[in-house]
Amino acid sequence: MGKMQENDNATLAAINRAWESTSRIVLGGGVCPLQELEAYLSRYAEPCRIEKSALSGKPVTVFGNYPKGTRFILDEEMGDYTKMAANAKLDINSIKDIDSAVWALSEVRLYAGNIVLGNSGFVTQSTRVVDSTNVFRSSDVIYSKNVAYTQIGKYSESIFGCVSAGKGTKFSIACAEMYETSRHFECYYVYTSSDIHYSANIENCQECLFCFNLRGKRRCVGNLELPKEKYDELKAKLLSEARELLRKKHSVPSIYDIIAGK
């Protein structure tokens, strides 16, 4: 087994462990292996693309609107690239404009994929990852750990299928636009809150289900405040339904479907 394959297996094992504990914390129980939910968790992130390395033919994960014909290399192939670029003969006098520069520099114009910087480890099929650990199929991940199918995660932990996860986002499944929040599922725009499910535009709230445009509330269902026992009973019922759908259909209606009335 190659070193790269070993690293990929270790990343997947670590990510699956994190997924199991996150699903228990957020959904109240385990559901199914993470990879079975790939289509569901990738719905709102702009996807990474897999290209072939121009040097080795190995798969390269890239993100960005590169046109056809672009040549890529793996970040780990920089040694070979540097030698190749150093041997390229550049005649500075031949550069009269950008068109001539593009011709003269054809050997150095290779784009890097799988960009992993700083003190990062166990990163697989991801790019633009800085100082992060256990990252799978994600891009633009900075100072984070246990991240899968996510685009833009900063100072975050255990986030799956998220977009724009800001500082302090922890234990999050299928959410977008968060900041200083913990334990949430199917949410859009949740700031400084915790234990939020199927809600949108929430700030400074705890324990909310199906809530919209709320500030500073606790234990609400449909914006209606409920006693603890009643809230816990409804939450248990809804989370059980979500787990069942994820197990059987590998998907659930999204917060956007609820808003759109689908």
């Binding site: 550069i95 890097a112 960009i115 633009r128 833009i152 914006n223 809804l238 479907d257």
Partner: protein
């Protein structure tokens, strides 16, 4: 507009000649930052315009969008206890239809002079930006943080005086740079770190006066820089666009 003056300053710094009327260059600036394209839609509850960026998860909000202040008023509505008891995931869309609006206009902290934007704060004099945090004088950009004087950029953190730079940190006075860190006065560079006064560099670190990863010396560099600046600004003045960018300059299509 205040932002026009800043665009003129930044273009003067980068191209050696100032360009006026930022709006005329909007399409070109957004060509590689399409998420920053802001469109206006009518609020679901009034005639007012709701601004929304071209980001998948914002667009998925559909037609039930309202202004930020309208959303807070609607947040006072709630469902009945009977409806709460009847809630399931499948019955939710119907039972929640009276309260399930939301807003793409996330306005955080204190903002001065920011217009036609969504998801921002604290900011000063930004125009047509989405997901713009702790920044000032930003135009036609997506996801910038702790930055100033950026135009046509996306995912830029701690950057200043840049045009069309992407997924980068700590860039100063750069044009068409992506996936890079800590560079100044660079043009058309990809995956670079600690570069100063360089152009057409790819996957390299710690160079000055470099062209195509090769250090050529100050005089030679400045000679080529002058030619490149003249070509870019000339074409921009004429067509309000420029055919090369950091994404297409390396493709076979660019050299046909």
């Amino acid at each position: 507009m205040e932002i026009d003056d800043h665009f003129a300053t930044v273009t003067q710094i980068i191209f050696g000649r100032s360009l006026s009327q930022l709006k005329d260059y909007g399409e070109w600036l957004l060509s590689r930052a399409p998420e920053g394209r802001i469109t206006g839609r009518k609020s679901a509850v009034s005639e007012r315009t709701v601004y929304i960026p071209s980001v998948r998860f914002f667009l998925a909000l559909g037609k039930r969008m309202v202004k930020a202040d309208e959303a807070l008023l609607l947040g006072q509505k709630k469902i009945s206890e009977k409806d709460a008891d009847a809630l399931t995931i499948s019955s939710a869309p119907g039972l929640l239809s009276g309260i399930s609006t939301t807003t793409p206009e996330i306005i955080w902290g204190e903002n001065i002079g920011t217009a036609e934007s969504c998801a921002y704060g604290p900011t000063q004099y930004c125009f047509r930006v989405a997901c713009c945090w702790f920044s000032k004088f930003i135009g036609y950009s997506y996801w910038s943080r702790t930055s100033e004087n950026l135009f046509g950029c996306s995912l830029a953190t701690d950057c200043s005086f840049c045009i069309k730079c992407y997924s980068s940190t700590k860039l100063t006075r750069c044009f068409e740079v992506n996936d890079s860190n800590n560079c100044a006065d660079c043009y058309f560079c990809h995956n670079c770190e600690d570069l100063k006064d360089s152009m057409f560099c790819f996957n390299t670190k710690g160079k000055r006066y470099a062209i195509g990863n090769l250090e050529v010396g100050r005089e030679a560099y400045l000679g080529v820089k002058k030619l490149v600046q003249a070509q870019v600004v000339g074409e921009l003045e004429k067509t309000k666009s420029f055919r090369y960018d950091i994404y297409n300059i390396g493709s076979k299509a660019a050299i046909v």
